[in-house]
């Protein structure tokens, strides 16, 4: 397209300036302001919000959120890679069905999905009923309102974000290569670590940040499954905005969250850059020999 098509850009650029760049810059500005007595702001520059954000009380919340996000991402990778591989190697006519079974929970309303997990774990839910009727327990076990429930909710909800990018990579791949490796005598672990894993790497890398980033800022899952005890970063920020009405402090926390995410994405970008420079020979381990 020629130069004159640049006019098509006007709505997009205007919109982004007005409703994306403006708002995000305002968060940065607010994070340096003081909170007024009625939940308003005082236009007086201060670093107080950031020094307050370094309080051990909050540091504990960040580290808890980081641990949860890291472990969720790790579990999703461990579960998602075999699942993507199983779907990709299934007979062609089964694949739409297998993907469909993945897409139904993926596209079902998020609140409904989280609530369904709460139901599964509830006192009157199927797990407790099953255990009761088998006589394994006499009283329902309390499983909601715990960190375990939050972790289960995170893994269950974000698993498709790991599976889909890995599946996309596998789908384009000629599986004859794996058969070839087997024919040449490789089996079990070497086939996995030197053929399958390097192949899956680009998808796996996308999956890692697609899971890690939203989990770190997740509000709903800890709120509905973790109860009052498990306050995570997302809940802490939301609370500042909607309950405490300390917008400057909430903005400072949001800035910290965004910085953490940008760091993760920068790491990923850098790692990809190194991989690209190493070239294809580096990607598929055995071809170097």
């Amino acid at each position: 397209m020629g130069r004159s098509s640049r006019i098509f850009l006007v709505p997009l650029v205007t919109w982004l300036g007005l409703f994306l760049v403006g708002p995000l810059l305002m968060v940065a500005v607010y994070s340096f302001l003081e909170r007024g007595p009625y939940g308003d702001v005082i236009w007086q520059p201060t670093l107080a919000n950031y020094t307050r954000a370094l309080d051990p009380l909050y540091l504990r919340i960040y580290s808890k959120s980081l641990v949860l996000a890291t472990s969720t991402t790790a579990v999703c990778a461990v579960l998602g890679l075999p699942l993507a591989y199983t779907i990709a190697t299934a007979p062609k006519r089964w694949q739409p069905g297998l993907l469909g079974l993945l897409m139904v929970p993926f596209l079902t309303n998020f609140v409904v999905r989280v609530y369904a997990i709460r139901l599964i774990l509830a006192a009157e839910g199927p797990i407790n009923l099953g255990l009761l009727s088998l006589g394994l327990i006499t009283e329902p076990i309390m499983m909601t309102d715990s960190t375990m429930a939050v972790a289960l909710g995170m893994v269950t909800n974000y698993l498709p974000f790991m599976v889909l990018p890995i599946y996309v990579v596998f789908e384009k791949f000629d599986f004859a290569m794996i058969e070839a490796a087997k024919d040449l005598g490789a089996k079990g672990w070497p086939v996995f670590s030197r053929v399958i894993l390097p192949l899956a790497k680009p998808g796996l890398l996308s999956g890692l940040s697609l899971v890690f980033v939203p989990v770190l800022g997740e509000y709903m899952i800890p709120d509905l499954l973790g109860g009052a005890k498990t306050l995570m970063l997302g809940g802490l920020i939301t609370e500042q905005f909607l309950r405490v009405r300390d917008w400057p402090f909430g903005s400072a926390l949001a800035m910290i969250l965004v910085t953490a995410m940008m760091f993760v994405m920068w790491l990923q970008h850098r790692y990809r850059g190194i991989e690209a420079r190493r070239g294809d020979g580096g990607r598929i381990g055995y071809s170097r020999t």
């Binding site: 004159s4 997009l12 190697t89 007979p91 999905r113």
Partner: protein
């Protein structure tokens, strides 16, 4: 017939069989994702009483009836539908024009613009929500259905631009050059050549925008103010108030709608091939 059978065997042979552990993990994953949904559908038909004794179970449509008479849910559904329709129309138009202009553009800042346009993909919805609410306060826009729509357009435009851009890089741009060489204005090129070729991607982008907007909780939660609950917000506050059975019924309806939507879209895709 024989030929087909032979091809199928070849294909089967070429595809490796995953290890038993992979099958086991896949089964666990499907169980984790699907059992909660199956449970919620089952419970939506269960009459109150002692659920622990299977011989006492009885089934009922009561929750669905209660649902159909719940004004607040119908109101929230209307709000959600209006927001999703307007937001998907808005983001599809802005995103389509933007993607067309950004494609093969020599404009020096086009990378910056496309980076910004797709930024909401990487930003947690929470941040977009709180940034919007601060901004609306600053520019004096009162919170309500308009602010929700604006927030949703910003979010969904990112997806529309990505989907249409992917399609643009796929197709043969020679047809566009040919049209311009033959004297078509950019507008004519867009209307007569590019847009018809892009129709499937535009449709996919619009559907994605609609789904995302209809599903969104976080941005609406921040920008709706009082009195303009979307459906996910309404479900959330019902959960908060401990209303269970009606949510089970509503969830079942939403799950069935998702399955129908998926079925229809895959049927459309197969027909268009």
């Amino acid at each position: 017939m024989e030929m087909e059978g032979a091809l199928a065997t070849v294909e089967l042979k070429r595809r490796p069989r995953p290890h038993a552990i992979a099958y086991l993990i896949s089964l666990v994953c499907y169980g984790l994702m699907l059992l909660p949904l199956v449970a919620i559908i089952f419970y939506s038909f269960l009459a109150p009483g002692d659920a622990s004794d299977a011989s006492q179970w009885s089934f009922t449509w009561d929750w669905y009836q209660a649902l159909s008479h719940d004004e607040s849910i119908l109101e929230a559904l209307t709000t959600s539908l209006i927001v999703a329709v307007v937001a998907s129309l808005g983001s599809t138009s802005i995103g389509l024009l933007g993607a067309l202009a950004l494609h093969r553009s020599q404009f020096s800042r086009s990378e910056l613009v496309s980076g910004l346009a797709t930024l909401p993909l990487a930003l947690p919805e929470l941040v977009l929500g709180l940034a919007s609410v601060i901004w609306f306060g600053t520019i004096g826009l009162s919170l309500g259905i308009n602010s929700v729509i604006i927030g949703h357009i910003t979010l969904t435009t990112a997806y529309v631009v990505t989907v249409i851009n992917a399609r643009l890089t796929d197709f043969d741009s020679a047809v566009i050059d040919a049209a311009s060489d033959l004297g078509a204005t950019p507008w004519q090129v867009a209307r007569r050549v590019t847009i018809p070729l892009l129709a499937p991607a535009i449709g996919a982008g619009a559907m994605m925008a609609f789904t995302l907007s209809f599903d969104d909780f976080m941005i609406s939660f921040f920008t709706a103010g009082v009195d303009h609950d979307t459906l996910p917000m309404r479900i959330y506050s019902m959960i908060r108030f401990g209303i269970n059975r009606e949510i089970y019924a509503l969830s079942t309806v939403l799950i069935l709608l998702t399955i129908t939507g998926l079925g229809v879209s895959s049927w459309l895709r197969r027909r268009s091939i």
